[in-house]
Symmetry: C2
Subunit: 156 residues, 2 copies
DNA sequence: CTTATATAGGACTATTTTAGTACTATATAA
DNA sequence: TTATATAGTACTAAAATAGTCCTATATAAG
């Protein structure tokens, strides 16, 4: 499937809601009402986002959460990482030494390449994009190749 | 984490091995020896790949598996789909009607956008790339935006 | 025709991950 | 001082994944 967890999905819904009024404090209970996501779940997601400095939190009466940065300064890759941990398509990407074949693995480098491509795609979409209505039908993602050998292009 | 399953990882290892000798038949037992992946697991992966027409199979004595197409004609997106089913970052992408919030969801369209970006990145990497040694340090993935509004760019 | 070999398909179990909940502690405004 | 809201942690239930096994079928070779 290659999908994000439900919590990450909720996170985008919640963040999109908050981004509509970026200057107000939003309590967990308010967000539950607005989004339809159960309170304990909303609470859990908000804690993750706060810990990752995507949201700022204010305790006590009249407290709540607000965006730590402008909507266009938080991207989807950050949100996924906040909820699920580091993005990596294979085990060896996020935790070295757990794969028995690691030493003899020929394709680890290529997975890193794929990781970076996916990460870049996710990084390019911000909360500001999520708030905006969808107007586009396609996204043009280019994996450049050298003309001579048709290999994936080098770039440092 | 956003990762592919272990079986998918095995699939790329196995396919890379086969792609080294694209004209020979490879039995499951041979692949076990070459890759170090347990036989029942190898067998399972090969069946998935065969069913998805990424590999052709030949039964009986001296049988085995071979690539159905040239290495540069099979990409990573196909491999992931063969093992895990359709690629979709959220539930609503692959199976409509299972999300209670679907009717009022504002960001579904944006997830589709992200999906397409990720899919395109995965589609751009083929078995031929996996066989080749890694020479590149980065991949340049571009999500184009309009100059005027800085919105993600329209393209049909 | 028989046998050895290899894939096809399905069922099953154990493990791991994820989702969801609950409880206690702490901070703050009124 | 009290009501309110987040912080942190631990726990339980559900779902997805990994891995194994068994039976059926096809094919090459003797």
């Amino acid at each position: 499937m290659l999908r994000v967890s439900k919590l990450t999905d909720y996170a985008t819904v919640i963040l999109t809601h908050i981004a509509h009024q970026p200057d107000e404090l939003h309590a967990a209970s308010d967000i539950t009402q607005a989004t339809g996501v159960a309170l304990p779940t909303v609470s859990k997601v908000l804690k993750f986002l706060s810990k990752a400095n995507i949201l700022t939190s204010h305790r006590g009466s009249k407290g709540g959460y607000a965006l730590a940065n402008k909507p266009n300064e938080t991207n989807v890759a950050e949100v996924i990482t906040a909820i699920e941990g580091p993005i990596g398509m294979t085990e060896c990407t996020t935790s070295e030494g757990t794969c028995e074949q690691e030493s003899s693995c020929e394709i680890k480098g290529n997975w890193n390449l794929i990781n970076r491509a996916v990460y870049t795609a996710l990084e390019a979409v911000t909360l500001a994009d999520m708030v905006a209505p969808v107007r586009q039908q396609a996204v043009n993602v280019v994996m450049p190749r050298t003309k001579e050998t048709n290999e994936l292009k080098v770039e440092s």
